[in-house]
């Protein structure tokens, strides 16, 4: 009798303990990331595992979508009332997300150490109207990658410092019969095309907006598009660029079919050390070139941040996840596909080892990062510009007319 009572008690304790652990691990965070460029899906999963190991009371559900779906998925989930606690967002969205209350203002959560340690340029990624809507996480810009072997065969000693030099070198490579179309770009009807265009706009000293009105249809904005069109029509750029995204550019470059390519940080270690790359060990990287008399180098701000959504019921846990993911220790550990936001990391041998060339290019490129316009109507402007770029490349419209039409259709 006593024994059975004891067993019953033991049973009850076990059941109680079971429920207790369940009650303990009750916070579930839903997080949305992208399956494209920067940190790989495997990296993000490994970082998250480390977080949940250190915080057993929090469970994190990860979801990955292509970059092209990231904005719409975030907004739609919000519109339908449910959704994510933590979302990855691009530098171009804080204006819209802040005006439409998609993300919460986290300015008060950011510590003095964070303010001091993170590169000033990185902060622009998450700020709008004086407030911060998250932590910068992916610090990225487009670099000019080149195939050292092909340049050597063409007798080229140093990679181009200006965009005109790039044209000359590509022509030389084409004329020597080394490659039919030496340059690869991501000019598909997508944001990728705007990033390449912005890099050129920054080189030519152009402006997207002046006093909130479109200003890209003249001056540097027009010169940038004209450069793209002439590079395309003169046959030195891969004509398939107009349907390429960043991953297509990477594949072409890794197959040794491009001497030059404009792409994000992540391509460096994948192309130079990846097991599928045919150009491993031959990859060079420099900041995107400048324009004589106007700029030394050029760069687009392609950084991304992590923010807490306005519908999240667990903002505190979400913030502790974000601070973990953006911490210097984690970023230094995974610095092969995306470089840290922390200034002192760039002097840390553990980060720079084996990628000194990339770090060298990053120091110049990251300092020159040029923003895409900050406006709540960014998506409309971007779609109008994508159309202008493609129509000009296809010869359906002159760059002047195409950009004028984009300015009218931009909704600004």
């Amino acid at each position: 009798m006593l024994k059975s009572k004891r067993n019953a008690l033991l049973g009850a304790t076990l059941v109680g303990a079971f429920f207790a652990t369940n009650a303990y691990a009750e916070t579930t965070l839903n997080a949305l990331f992208m399956a494209q460029a920067a940190y790989s899906e495997a990296d993000v999963r490994a970082m998250t595992d480390a977080f949940t190991k250190a915080n057993p009371d929090v469970k994190v559900n990860l979801e990955f979508v292509p970059y092209e779906g990231l904005h719409d998925k975030t907004v739609l989930a919000q519109g339908s009332g449910g959704g994510y606690d933590v979302v990855l967002f691009d530098v171009i969205w804080p204006a819209e997300y802040a005006s439409n209350k998609v993300l919460v203002d986290v300015s008060s959560r950011i510590t003095e150490d964070m303010k001091k340690g993170v590169l000033p340029g990185a902060w622009t990624t998450v700020q709008y109207d004086g407030a911060s809507y998250g932590m910068p996480w992916i610090l990225d810009t487009k670099y000019l990658f080149y195939n050292k072997e092909i340049l050597e065969k063409a007798g080229i000693k140093t990679p181009p410092k200006t965009w005109d030099e790039l044209t000359e070198q590509a022509k030389a490579i084409k004329d020597k019969g080394l490659l039919a179309t030496p340059i690869a770009w991501s000019w598909s009807q997508a944001e990728a095309a705007i990033c390449d265009y912005t890099t050129l706009v920054s080189a030519y000293g152009g402006d997207f907006l002046k006093d909130g009105k479109p200003d890209f249809q003249t001056g540097g904005g027009l010169d940038a598009l004209k450069y793209m069109v002439s590079s395309y029509t003169s046959g030195i750029s891969n004509p398939n660029s107009k349907e390429f995204l960043e991953e297509d550019v990477r594949k072409v470059f890794e197959n040794g079919e491009a001497a030059f390519a404009l792409n994000w940080t992540y391509m460096y270690n994948l192309a130079n050390a990846g097991k599928d790359s045919k150009v491993a060990g031959k990859v060079g990287v420099v900041p995107a070139p400048g324009v004589a008399g106007k700029s030394e180098v050029s760069a687009v701000n392609g950084s991304m941040g992590l923010g807490i959504t306005a519908v999240s019921k667990h903002p505190d846990e979400a913030w502790s996840y974000i601070t973990f993911m953006t911490s210097q220790a984690v970023q230094n550990q995974y610095a092969k596909l995306s470089l840290p936001i922390w200034a002192s990391s760039y002097e840390d041998p553990a980060v720079t080892a084996g990628q000194e060339e990339l770090i060298g290019a990053a120091k110049l490129g990251l300092a020159a990062m040029y923003p895409r316009p900050t406006t709540p109507k960014y998506q409309e402007l971007s779609v109008a510009l994508q159309q202008a770029i493609q129509e000009s490349l296809l010869g359906q419209s002159s760059p002047e007319d195409a950009l004028k039409a984009a300015a009218e259709n931009s909704g600004l």
Binding site: E68, H71, D72, V75, L76, Q78, G79, E96, N100, K101, V102, S188, Q189, A190, P239, N240, K242, E243, D248, K251, V252, N255, E257, K377, Q379, E380, V383, Q386, Q387, Q390, E391, L394, Q396, G411
Partner: protein, 294 residues
């Protein structure tokens, strides 16, 4: 049982279904109609009443007109090709030969694939750098060099139509094949004895049995083709230079990418109206053909 109590009972039995339909279709529809007269954003404010502004702006906009033409082109060509291919495949699979059952099974495969899978598959086939189509065409000498199929306005829409046909002709073939089973063998035999050629036999013996079911297939396919979104979104996202942007993609951009729920709703309702008109026209046609058969 009297007619009235039959009617009452029928309505009572239908009530649960009606309630569900009103909840999942009626209410969202009314909500969308209401939205379409406001300047509501997707997230945040409810928006102000703006009358028919959204409709006027949508219909007079150049985007809408151009997109309507693209959608019509896509729908007409792809549905026509699917009908022809479907009937031909059904006639072939209706013959007696070894392996027929296996072929009939295989034929359904493309239709059973999720559209996104199909679209991804065809994007690989059309790939300008290492696509199978380029490889095949250059190897048999039809093409000098690899080319960009989805990157040129001249070929992008046609390439999408081919991918859509490959996926959807099996549905037409399936419906036609089922209809063919109803053609009485004695009439076929009699027409053969009377010396009717293959075309005459198809036109006067087979086709009358096919007309009704094919009309249904035509209605279904046209409505679907008019609403096309996923296959294009995955393959070209409406590019190059918006040459493959259809009405549904325009609705998506307006309502979700640009977050203008109000004008997006007006555009969606215009598309719904167009599809409803098509459906009504076909329904009338179906009634007419059914009437002439009996």
């Amino acid at each position: 049982m009297s007619g009235t109590s039959m009617t009452t009972r029928a309505w009572l039995l239908m009530l649960p279904l009606l309630a569900v339909m009103i909840a999942v279709i009626g209410w969202p529809l009314i909500d969308t109609i209401h939205l379409s007269f406001t300047d509501a954003k997707l997230v945040g404010t409810a928006g102000n009443f703006v009358g028919i502004d959204n409709y006027v702006k949508t219909i007079t906009g150049s985007n809408f007109q151009r997109t309507l033409v693209t959608t019509a082109k896509f729908a007409i060509i792809s549905v026509f090709a699917e009908m022809v291919l479907g009937v031909l495949a059904a006639l072939l699979l209706n013959q007696e030969f070894r392996g027929r059952t296996m072929l009939r099974g295989l034929m359904i495969l493309p239709w059973a694939l999720p559209t996104v899978v199909n679209a991804t598959l065809w994007r690989l086939i059309y790939n300008p750098e290492y696509g199978a189509l380029n490889a095949a065409l250059t190897q048999i000498g039809l093409l000098d060099a690899y080319r960009s199929w989805l990157g040129e306005p001249g070929t992008a829409l046609a390439s999408l139509i081919i991918a859509d046909c490959w996926k959807n002709f099996p549905l037409v073939a399936l419906i036609a094949l089922a209809a063919l089973q109803a053609v009485p063998r004695d009439i076929q035999a009699a027409s053969l004895v009377d010396g009717a050629g293959p075309f005459a036999r198809f036109r006067f013996v087979t086709l009358p049995y096919l007309a009704g079911p094919l009309m249904v297939a035509l209605v279904l396919r046209t409505i679907e083709a008019f609403k096309v979104f996923d296959i294009i979104w995955v393959m070209t996202r409406g590019g190059p230079a918006n040459s493959t942007r259809t009405l549904s993609i325009l609705v998506y951009q307006e309502a979700f990418s640009f977050q203008r729920a109000g004008s997006g709703a007006s555009l969606a309702l215009i598309v719904t109206l167009l599809v409803a008109v098509l459906a009504a026209a076909y329904a009338a046609l179906v009634r007419k053909t059914a009437g002439s058969n009996t």
